[in-house]
Amino acid sequence: MSPVDVGEAITRAHHEEWARVVATLTRHFGDLDVAEEAAAEAFATAVERWPADGVPPNPGGWLTTTARRKALDRIRRDNKRDDNQKQAQMMYDDPPDFLGAVDDERLRLIFTCCHPALASEARVALTLRMVGGLTVPEIARAFLVQEATMGQRITRAKAKIKAARIPYRVPSADDLPGRVSGVLAVLYLVFNEGYLASGPDTDPVRHDLTAEAIRLARLLRALMPGDGEVAGLLALMLLTEARRTARVSANGELVTLDEQDRGAWDAALVAEGHRLVRERLATGQAPGRYQILAAINAVHTSARDVRDTDWSQVVALYDQLFRLDPSPIVALNRAVAIAELDGPDVALGIVDRLQDELVDYHAYFAARADILRRLGRSEESRAAYDRAIALAGNTAETAYLTRRRDQLV
């Protein structure tokens, strides 16, 4: 095997096996810290040994065995396996029956990392480290914080899990919907930070983060194949990611949906997203938030030309979403679709009523500016563009809004 092939085998094993190794060891030793360190050591050993010894026939098994040995070494070294250590072990139960035959340690790991008693930013960091296998410097770079700060955030979360005894467990049927939506919120946060990266010095789209969010959503989908919202979030991410390359122009400017080169969309991702949306529709079950958002994106990605967009379907889906989540942001997105269906004058009436609640939201002023521009009210449109530019954090979006403002007559 060539060095390149061995390198690829290690990368693939890291993608496919990291979470399983950490999860298996956490169950075995009842300690996230021990599991994380031993998994990292096992992969470092693979990097040393596989080029000379060859890639083992069962890389996952090799890594788990090696990691277990490393963990035992550490425990012997620290002489930690006293009564205290046994008491501090994490509580785990066998997974409940309602998940069907799926018994996977990784599911426990995901629910523990996304526990509601942890701060949102700690859930994101811990999930990327423990489940995603990203290093602390990688996560720190992704969220533009100092490595030491990110390291402390993860250490503190692990310490709380241990001290407060957050269990290593798939939640019970009663708690499951709420806890799943907590996990999905973490993955969506990672995805959105990648898709609309904030900060003046970052790339406008961070493919590393969108790819990682999709990988984790695929994993969750494999572990919970019957959950509609898991399927919905994965479909939403795929249909959004499919448009990624068409979304920023060669000179770094945001390209809005109506101006995108639809031929540049990733047809395979679109097809996969559409399949998931159809699968959920076929169940006849009432869709949740992510499934409706995915369906809206399916309507957009079904139109070969923006003029073919079925806006009445988009508005109907936003109506449905608004009944589930009557938030001003949903109302704003619905108004943007109304502008296409019933005209910008009707949309402006809706948008005007949202101003008090969305006074700090850049997308509100961007939408308002566009509606006023179409109504020929240039002065008011200019003022709204100014406000949107001042509030926007994404470099490509700022460039787009600035050009639009400067083109006003």
């Binding site: 509580m91 407060a164 005894r165 957050i166 269990p167 467990r169 939640p171």
Partner: protein, 107 residues
Amino acid sequence: MQYLVSVIDDTPNSATSDEMTDINAFNDGLQADGHWVFAGGLGAPSTATVIDGRGAEAMFTDGPFVETKEWLSGFWIIEAPDLDVALKLAAAGSKACNRRVEVRPFL
């Protein structure tokens, strides 16, 4: 595993008789299910005395050690196998006493 469930309050001695009825019912449930360790209500911060016994002679100072807008007005110590169980009990306790509560594990 034991947890301290602190009741957060901003008005002294403000529990109503309806709240006391609910708290008593919640306490009965804790005892019946084996979660009860201890519980109690506390006097207002203005009734506190700070003692410094580190020197040759103990020093007594009137008032709480730090003035705050919110304080501990009562607490439960509960027995629970893990935080998920403790959080459920704390949520029921919060509803019963009609106050926010904080959960902390004992070491």
